[in-house]
């Protein structure tokens, strides 16, 4: 008799799971229409990345270039009274949150890659980053090619680790949860170099004397705003907003605001017209 109960309960679970699959997916509704109706766009932004999206301990709000871009884009799409709601995401959680419809768009140091474009749609690039290396000043590593046989530290869920496999196939890679942990691993010599996008590395080099950014940029990492597949009207509206910001000089103003004080980084290179 007891076996029968187990069978019944097992079937119940399967039924519950399957019944959920038939429901209308959030990707079929127009995010832009919903946003206009509620006058709110919900953005996924970083909470732990200096210069792009870092929570301010004084008021608990995330601040950075990405966050400001999100606010400006919202105003361009919804008008001056449009509200931008920020949800903190990580490199791992941003894609599922977007697919589930918890957030309308993600602007979180996310590079446009062919793999990601299979499941998400991207706006035009809004920031041209490139991958680089952070090493101790005494290090013999000069460029990415010197990484073969060395241990490289990266961050889980980001694209930079895959790129290392391409430029230095014999490098060993250690992946950590966030950039602060990665820097500390580098300091405690668990790895020879830390790799990620140059903008983030310069942010880390500022407070860690004895370390410097080296080897130039060996990849192009254009950051894009990610939206769910099939939301073409939202993608178009975001592209339009970014173009408007470049024409009006708002974009350059934000670049100067966030990257103007970073030593060793020529922010004027990032200017767009």
């Amino acid at each position: 008799m007891k076996k029968k109960f187990w069978l019944v309960s097992f079937l119940t679970i399967i039924l519950v799971v399957l019944s959920g699959c038939g429901k209308q997916n959030s990707s079929q509704q127009s995010v832009l229409k919903n946003a206009r109706a509620s006058n709110t766009l919900t953005w996924g932004v970083k909470g732990d990345t200096k210069l792009f999206g870092l929570i301010d301990v004084a008021d608990g709000q995330s601040k950075g270039f990405d966050v400001d871009m999100a606010k400006h884009i919202t105003k361009h799409i919804l008008g001056p009274k449009g509200k931008a709601k920020m949800v903190t995401v990580t490199s791992q959680s941003r894609t599922p949150l977007l697919k589930n419809g918890n957030v309308d768009a993600v602007i979180a140091t996310m590079s446009i890659t062919p793999e990601r474009e299979k499941i998400l749609d991207f706006s035009h690039s809004y920031f041209d980053a490139g991958q680089s290396l952070l090493v101790p000043k005494s290090s013999t590593i000069r460029s990415a090619k010197d990484l073969n046989g060395k241990t490289v530290i990266g961050v889980v869920g980001s694209n930079s680790v895959n790129n290392i496999h391409k430029v230095a196939p014999h490098a060993k890679v250690v992946e950590l949860q966030d950039y602060a942990q990665a820097v500390n691993a580098l300091k405690s010599k668990q790895g020879d170099a830390l790799t990620t996008d140059n903008g983030i590395l310069y942010g880390l080099a500022v407070e860690n004397h004895g370390f410097e950014v080296r080897g130039g940029t060996f990849t192009k990492e254009p950051y894009g705003v990610a939206v769910n597949k099939g939301q073409d009207d939202l993608t178009k509206a975001i592209n339009q907003a970014i173009l408007e910001m470049q024409h009006s000089g708002e974009y350059n103003h934000l670049i100067k605001k966030w990257f103007g004080d970073v030593p060793g980084f020529d922010y004027k290179e990032l200017y767009r017209k």
């Binding site: 109960f5 699959c21 732990d48 870092l54 301990v57 608990g60 791992q92 602060a180 500390n184």
Partner: protein, 217 residues
């Protein structure tokens, strides 16, 4: 040294304590809910009601043998597929409650089983119904026996709330990550602060548990 002083600035400590508030909030809600739900589940499973006890027992066993992290992922990333989109704190509370209820259910069942069977037989022989006997005779003795197991379960619940950082719940561990995100040199001072705060909260709960245990024994 300067790093340690800067790391413990009032702004940072305040932010950490705000996170502690969320940790305690999630813990308290999950403890209360899972105590009620777990007790009901445990008693039903003990009562051997046809079909119901077996099916609930299966779910309790299922959940007890899954990692809490997986349940957190399911409530945050899985539930939206069923049309319900909880925010991070609610998702964490649901996950903790589901997991802890299953744990508490087994503590309750074993607590009841630990009461001498003669107690039930005696109570029934003086004319009490099953429920009366359970409520007036068995449960008061059983809950006394459960206190140590229950307290240690709730202490691990508090510590397990740190798993919710993975879905960016603004609790203490996540706030520590934000603080050392501003300056990577704060990572060690923050870990020390976390250790102290978690210890204070969990040890206080243990002391309260011991006190109740002594008073009732």
């Amino acid at each position: 040294m300067q790093n340690w002083i800067n790391a413990y600035s009032w702004l940072n400590i305040r932010f950490l304590l705000l996170g502690l508030g969320v940790t305690i909030f999630i813990s308290v809600v999950a403890v209360v809910l899972s105590f009620i739900l777990g007790s009901i589940l445990g008693i039903i499973r003990y009562s051997k009601i046809k079909y119901v006890s077996a099916i609930l027992g299966f779910f309790v066993d299922l959940i007890r043998n899954l990692p809490l992290l997986l349940i957190i992922f399911f409530t945050y990333f899985g539930l939206p597929n069923f049309g319900f989109k909880p925010d991070t704190i609610l998702a964490a509370i649901i996950a903790m409650t589901v997991f802890e209820s299953a744990m508490v259910a087994e503590i309750v069942r074993s607590g009841i089983n630990a009461v001498d069977i003669g107690q039930m037989e005696g109570a029934r022989s003086v004319g009490m119904s099953f429920l009366q006997a359970l409520w007036h005779i068995i449960l008061p003795q059983a809950y006394k026996k459960m206190i140590p197991a229950m307290i240690s379960q709730f202490v691990s619940l508090i510590k397990d709330t740190s798993l919710a950082t993975i879905i960016v719940v603004p609790e203490m561990m996540q706030h520590a990550q934000v603080i050392y995100g501003q300056n990577a040199n704060y990572i060690l001072p923050m870990f020390v602060a976390l250790a102290v705060l978690y210890f204070i909260v969990c040890f206080t709960l243990s002391l309260i548990g011991n006190h109740i245990d002594k008073r009732l024994a």
